[in-house]
């Protein structure tokens, strides 16, 4: 397939995943910001943290809930849900021949709906709940349509790969911003917010018996292969996607790098004792994902970098 098409699909996947992640995180952070502190020491992940991880942090802008509102429907902010959806729509419009009509329609309607028919802020009247809910529902629908209607060929692989790398990158960024240092009194504080921000609280409660404190939550988000949005699961799926898409996977740099990362994560999961410090692994893994991103651009997209505004 054409390198340009592959690149657009890859970034379409990234933008959709970014919009969905932002929707969940904004809603979760907003809810927790409304409340005071827990009795026990707990991990905080507030508006400042979310902005920092989305790269939208600067000294001039407002903080707190006002800043969160900008992450929903402010098209001028590259980190907002609306901006991600608009980028996805722009990308999708250039590959309409590859994706099905149904899928194009699903993406297009999402963008139009989120714009609110020329009435900005239709959903912002009472916090981000309505717009977050809308984006979560619509992205689920888009991925569902993609799964049902797209041929399982290279195109689907690049779409999936974009989504996977974005999800794992977001999870890692969040952990790096939110995990307290090893000497902090909150080092193993109560941390359900990190699970709520990725929509994984219920999965965690089913899979892990210890309470949602920082250490087990970070391990879960990094290593739990049974949870689809964990870094390890994403990297595994990424490996499968690149292997399927690559003409010569045995000697492809991105494939090799992803498979080494998967092995490293598996090794760390077994080797690290409970309660071990995980931020350096998050950092290293995130760096490695950035290199994979470069490798992908070089090998598959003829060296073309990210389209449009991206951080």
């Amino acid at each position: 397939m054409l390198a340009r098409i592959a690149r657009e699909l890859y970034w379409l996947g990234r933008n959709l995943a970014r919009a969905e992640f932002t929707a969940r995180a904004v809603e979760a952070v907003f809810q927790s910001e409304l409340h005071g502190a827990f009795d026990s020491p707990s991990v905080t992940f507030g508006a400042g943290g979310l902005l920092a991880m989305l790269g939208a942090f600067d000294d001039t802008q407002p903080t707190g809930t006002e800043a969160l509102a900008q992450l929903t429907l402010d098209a001028a902010r590259p980190g907002s849900m609306l901006a991600s959806v608009e980028r996805a729509r722009d990308g999708a419009s250039t590959v309409r021949d590859v994706i099905s009509a149904e899928m194009w329609e699903a993406i297009n309607i999402t963008a139009l709906g989120l714009r609110g028919g020329g009435q900005p802020g239709w959903a912002a009247a009472s916090g981000p709940y309505l717009s977050s809910q809308y984006v979560k529902e619509r992205t689920a629908l888009i991925w569902g349509v993609a799964g049902r209607s797209m041929l399982r060929d290279e195109a689907k692989c690049f779409l999936d790969a974009g989504g996977l790398i974005e999800v794992s990158d977001m999870v890692l960024r969040m952990l790096r911003v939110a995990l307290p240092g090893p000497d902090s009194p909150r080092a193993d504080g109560y941390a359900p917010i990190l699970l709520k921000a990725v929509g994984g609280l219920h999965a965690y409660l089913r899979a892990v018996t210890s309470p949602p404190n920082a250490h087990p939550v970070a391990r879960f988000l990094l290593f739990e292969r049974a949870y689809p949005d964990s870094v390890a699961a994403c990297v595994d799926s990424l490996h499968a996607a690149f292997t399927a898409a690559d003409s010569g996977p045995r000697n492809s740099t991105p494939v090799l790098r992803v498979s080494r990362l998967a092995a490293d994560l598996d090794f760390q999961r077994r080797a690290l004792p409970d309660g071990a410090e995980l931020t350096s692994i998050c950092e290293r893994t995130q760096q490695e994902l950035a290199r994979i991103d470069q490798d992908v651009a070089e090998r598959y997209f003829a060296g073309a970098a990210a389209p449009g505004a991206w951080n």
Binding site: L34, G46, T65, S126, G127, L205, A207, N251, S280, R284
Partner: protein, 536 residues
């Protein structure tokens, strides 16, 4: 819109001088703690409140958070759980007093359960009459002399508190069997934060959503020793139970299985779950059905909801049950009168929270006293719950009172009488978005594991009918979100943008182009790769 909306949400609000209003002074100005809230309500306006109410109903129906109500003629229908959008506010100081009082009371009730089924010290001391204990419908002979792990029997407790005209908090009722409603505390908060986040803006509200984790920790702590992590289950009578939503909610929030009787089996005094991988042992059962139904061998033989042999497994110490069977003796309406004495006897402390004055009618003198004043008192049947059979003297017709006199004379032991408490009021939204005072009570939820934890606030139930004092949701009551304010605002820690990565590097990748691998298999790959590149 059907009803024309009032111009202002709070302008015409007039508290009833006979009761204490928690948000407004008697002259109609907001209390200091409520000023920011009243401003925010004003800003939303009646239209905004009506609109938020419509979205609330849509959300609750979509999530199936509904309550079954009994209409006239015994027919039942589902309606969205009636959450009133004006919250109730408790200051940090008020809450500390309530929390300490409740912890004290629950400790005493737990001592009482332990005592009644073992040493019976309090009876030998002559503080509680044995006849009263033995005639109590929830006194269970089958659990005599069974020790619960850790000495805790009342793991989950919910006491109903009311506020008198002068602002004093009083305990109206204890509930240490299967108190329900905690799921609505969590769902109410989640819904409020979605529907009217503006109201939270200037209040540091203590969170409540860690309740399932507190409960799970307590349930794990009481489990008999297990080789691996203890298996905890929530036991529901089934989907037909009015509180089934709560059972499923708690199981989901704790990440444990929701079981029915057919999933459980006792073999060799051990409790097992029937799973796809055969029988697996269960260590702790959080049961949400009454004592009478849990084991047909020990209690009601006609119970189809029970697990035969459960009490034998419990007696053998192989399974923990929360709350322990037999705790109903402590929250009996006739025993209630003795709780302050229990606190003095077991804890050597003075009660922090007061009772409502209660009359036991088995004493003929007291009976005569009560019969003469029936139009000023409240009469309750001891064996009922949920507000059924209650007669409120001042609101009753003369004929009803006369009928009740006959009932009381014929069977005084089944009834108690209490002074009427002037329940406090909180502004509540009407259909047109205007506010009116309505009576409220408060049910905080406590979890007794290794210590007593009480989630800040609790379920505020509100009587939606004007002047009504019955707040039970099965009788048309609604609820409110209850805010406990934090002492000071916790400032968010300063977050800096991501630092440049400095972590140690993974080893270099092998150079695929020129091949530095030495292994034979890799050399083969290398030659393949070179041929592949030649054809590119």
């Amino acid at each position: 819109m059907t009803a024309p909306a009032a111009a202002s949400a709070t302008a015409g609000y007039q508290p009833d001088a006979r009761f204490m209003d928690e948000l407004f002074e008697p002259d109609g100005t907001p209390r200091p703690v409520a000023r920011a809230l009243v401003d925010a309500l004003e800003h939303l306006g009646p239209d905004g409140l009506v609109e938020a109410g419509r979205r609330r109903d849509a959300i609750f129906v979509a999530q199936a958070i509904t309550f079954e109500t009994k209409g006239d003629g015994g027919s039942t229908h589902e309606r969205p759980f009636p959450l009133d959008l004006v919250p109730r506010i408790l200051s940090a100081d008020e809450w500390v007093a309530i929390k300490r009082g409740l912890a004290q009371r629950i400790r005493a009730l737990n001592h009482f359960v332990d005592d009644v089924y073992h040493g019976r010290e309090i009876i030998r001391e002559g503080i509680v009459p044995w006849l009263l204990v033995a005639s109590c419908p929830h006194f269970e002979r089958a659990v005599h002399d069974i020790h619960s792990p850790g000495g805790v029997y009342t793991h989950v407790a919910g006491c109903d508190l009311v506020r008198d005209r002068d602002g004093t908090w009083r305990v109206l009722e204890d509930n240490v069997r299967v108190p329900s409603g905690v799921s609505y505390v969590l769902e109410n908060r989640a819904a409020m934060a979605r529907l009217v986040p503006e109201l939270f803006a200037r209040y540091p509200v203590r969170p409540v959503d860690h309740y399932p984790q507190l409960l799970l920790r307590a349930l794990r702590a009481m489990a008999p020793s297990a080789a691996s992590e203890a298996t905890v289950v929530v036991w529901t009578p089934g989907p037909a139970n009015p509180a089934y939503f709560e059972h499923a909610f708690l199981a989901r929030q704790m990440g444990v299985e929701l079981v029915e009787a057919s999933d459980l089996v006792v073999r060799d005094e051990m409790l097992y779950l029937r799973t796809t991988r055969g029988l697996e042992r269960a260590h702790t059962v959080y049961r949400r059905l009454d004592d009478g139904f849990i084991d047909p061998l020990s209690f009601r033989p006609d119970s189809l909801l029970g697990v035969p042999g459960l009490i034998r497994a419990y007696r053998a110490g192989n399974v923990a049950i929360a709350n322990a069977p037999g705790t109903g003796v402590a929250d009996d309406k006739a025993i209630y009168r003795f709780v302050p004495d229990m606190i003095r006897f077991y804890l050597s402390e003075e009660p922090i929270l007061h009772n409502v004055e209660t009359y036991l009618l088995s004493d003929p003198e007291v009976l005569e006293y009560v019969l003469a004043r029936l139009d000023t008192l409240v009469v309750k049947p001891t064996g009922e719950s949920g507000g059924r059979g209650v007669l409120i003297g001042p609101n009753a017709e003369e004929a009803e009172i006369e009928h009740m006199r006959g009932v009381l004379r014929s069977d005084p032991g089944r009834w108690i009488a209490q002074d009427l408490v002037s329940l406090s009021t909180v502004p509540t939204i009407d259909g047109d978005g205007s506010l009116h005072p309505r009576h409220v009570d408060l049910r905080p939820f406590a979890v007794f594991g290794e210590r007593i934890d009480i989630v800040p606030g609790g379920l505020t139930r509100v009587a939606l009918q004007e002047g009504s004092l019955i707040v039970n949701s099965s009788q048309g009551g609604g609820s409110k979100d209850t805010w406990v304010l934090a002492d000071g605002e916790d400032s968010e820690p300063q977050v800096s943008p991501l630092a440049e990565p400095t972590a140690q590097e993974l080893p270099d990748l092998p150079d695929l182009r020129f091949g530095q691998w030495t292994d034979q298999q890799q050399q083969q790959q290398q030659s393949k790769q070179q041929s592949g590149q030649a054809s590119d």
